[in-house]
């Protein structure tokens, strides 16, 4: 009796140890749930990846799996300055109309059958032809190519998506590192500003034909509330509501942010710090806004708080960089350093922080 119970005591921890080690090395078949709510089962580990979006490419690179990428969409190729590791990968066509035949050819990779170690990562968009269900249909003739929807665009899904991708790629540790960093930086920004006054903010998404701003339901609205700003368009339900300049003047925002799209032949992130060709363009965009009739009466203009922003840092995995920038911009008195957060983020991607670049114009005064 006694010997039996002792041996049982010895064996139990052993079994527990075995169980632990087997859960650490992911077990196959592995089933995950993607952002579109689909359950996808992997019979073996994923060794080859095709990315249809630059946000997904960024996530794969960030988790250190760039060497597994075998095919990219046109949007990833256009950002090759951001993913030098992916510049030479096979193109599979446009992000919203991929060439499925090419995907099949890449998946086959010289041999006669498709090994089920290949994965296509796309957007969710459940009702669109380029959404995950459309992609799934396009891949249907090839039985063993799996597709998942992971977007990395909305703050509410961000950490979950990184965790899922980490699981799929067997990069749980890297994913957890990023999530810890993200949560830390995000709560640092939140804690620094949450007791301060909320300034009224007008964000201009586009001014080409009509003015459009970012309402409730946009990712920016969530980002702005984390940075403790009040979105004057919050009551406008749509994500990108169209507004009139008269309405903006009446709302009298205390801070104005203007989105400026990047030129198509961009070679680096952000803009060249002034004085440069980039800052001349930015100055012109800012002056156009300042010259609108009635602009002089707006608090933001009187207090000289009109900024042109690089919207790339407000979307995607570097969103927490944008959150820190916004928190600093809205509350100049807080002790936050967006540049160091940005540097830390770029280390995840294995990139150097580019000197003499700027992401906000006019540049913010450094931490006081």
């Amino acid at each position: 009796m006694k010997i039996q119970s002792i041996s049982a005591l010895l064996i139990l921890p052993l079994i527990a140890l075995l169980l632990c080690s087997s859960t650490l090395a992911a077990e196959y078949p592995l089933t995950i749930t993607d952002t579109a709510g689909r359950e996808v089962t992997f019979p073996q580990s994923v060794e080859r990846i095709i990315v249809l979006s630059s946000d997904a490419a960024e996530a794969v690179v960030m988790l250190g799996a760039a060497d597994k990428v075998v095919g990219v969409s046109d949007t990833v190729q256009k950002k090759s300055y951001y993913f030098p590791q992916l510049a030479k990968k096979q193109s599979i066509g446009k992000w919203n109309a991929p060439d499925y035949e090419m995907i099949g050819e890449v998946a086959k990779g010289g041999v006669e059958s498709i090994t089920p170690d290949i994965l296509v990562i796309g957007y969710s968009y459940p009702d669109k032809s380029y959404g995950i269900f459309g992609v799934e249909k396009g891949l249907a003739p090839f039985k063993d190519i799996r597709a998942v929807a992971l977007e990395f665009t909305k703050p509410e899904n961000m950490t979950q998506e990184v965790e899922t991708l980490g699981q799929i790629l067997g990069k749980e540790t890297e994913a957890q590192d990023y999530i810890n960093w993200y949560n830390e930086k995000r709560s640092a920004a939140e804690q620094a500003v949450n007791s301060l006054n909320k300034p009224k903010v007008y964000a201009e998404w586009s001014s080409t034909s009509d003015l459009s701003t970012l309402g409730a339901g946009s990712g920016f609205d969530q980002v702005l509330s984390v940075a403790n700003g009040y979105n004057i368009a919050k009551k406008l339900g749509d994500a990108y509501p169209k507004v009139g300049w008269e309405w903006v003047v009446t709302q009298n925002p205390e801070v104005i942010l203007k989105r400026q799209t990047q030129s198509s032949d961009q070679k680096q992130i952000g803009w060249a710090a002034g004085p440069s060709q980039d800052t001349v363009t930015l100055e012109a965009a800012r002056n156009e806004l300042l010259a609108r009739s009635g602009a002089k009466g707006i608090s933001a203009v009187k207090a000289d708080r009109v900024y042109v922003m690089d919207w790339d840092i407000l979307n995607g995995l570097d969103q927490v960089v944008g959150i820190t920038y916004l928190a600093k911009l809205l509350h100049p008195e807080v002790d936050l350093d967006p540049v160091s957060v940005h540097k830390e983020y770029l280390q995840f991607l294995g990139l150097e922080y580019p000197e003499e670049r700027t992401f906000v114009y006019p540049e913010l005064a450094s931490a006081s």
């Binding site: 193109s91 066509g93 060439d99 086959k108 009702d127």
Partner: protein, 357 residues
Amino acid sequence: MPSGITAKNVLLREKYQQFVGRKMLFLLLLVIVIVLLAGVAATLGSANIGVLDVYSAILARFFPASFQTSWFADTIVWGLRLHRILLSIVAGMGLAIAGAVMQGILKNPLASPFTLGISSAASFGAALAIVLGAGFVGGEWMIIGNAFVFTLLASMTVYGLAKYKGITPETMILAGIAIMYLFQAMTSFLQYVGHAEQVQEVVFWMMGSMGRSSWDKVWIVTAAIAICFPYLLLKSWDINALGAGDETATSLGVNVEKTRVICMMAVSFITASVICFTGTIGFIGLVSPHITRMVIGGDHRFLLPASALVGGLLLLAADTAARTILAPVILPVGIMTAFLGVPFFVYLFMRRKKEFW
């Protein structure tokens, strides 16, 4: 003298027989060219499969005993390429038949399947599904269902409007223009309220694409044509008579109004079943009948089948080019139809000797 007339008659008859022979030859030639082009198109694509592999993959389905194929070649050829090629052919045929009949019954060289506001109605139906997510059926058939229903709705409205003033080409075209502007305005409104990505998808839909093809869509379009085409062919004498004027046609025993209405409905049905799958592919329906007319003349008994073949050939050529020129980027076929068709059209236009309009 009588012998002279008989001799002249015989000569005319001979000439006519010769002309019929030329028409038959043209039809036969078109069929051969389409088969050849389809054969070439099946070998083109991003997947690296040899010409022989492609053909053994095709033949292996018919003669499994004597042909060997690999799983990959079979998947690419049967799963991705062949249904797209066949859909291009039948869609081009449908649009060209519709265009030829429209030009015939409206006696207007500028008429096309889209004259009666059909394309703008279909675009509006698609935009409604894309921007507002509202439709008659749900899921993946929503855009298709909307485009189909609104196309038929537009032609019903044109019919209703024209009915009041008598069904003449003028009333039909005017009613069609009114409908076209109405639906265009409504589509513009939807684009104005829609998000950037939705607007982009509407524009993409309106350019037309073969990317959504599948085997069931091939069968549906083929069935729609198979139902309507024999009837239209049966009516081709009546359409010929209409060309001589409504009074002349009436005195020849043609029920002018009825012919016009039924032909218009058949044409709308064919067009609706094509463009709800492909988007509004312009140009094919307008130009295929003209190209055909320049070669074999305006007799609708030959014009209808020959236009159909020209249309199928044009669309297949355009889609093959769209697939391969910038591969792996696939261009919308609506852009390629005009790029390929216009030079050919201008060539025939500069060379033609006779006036058919």
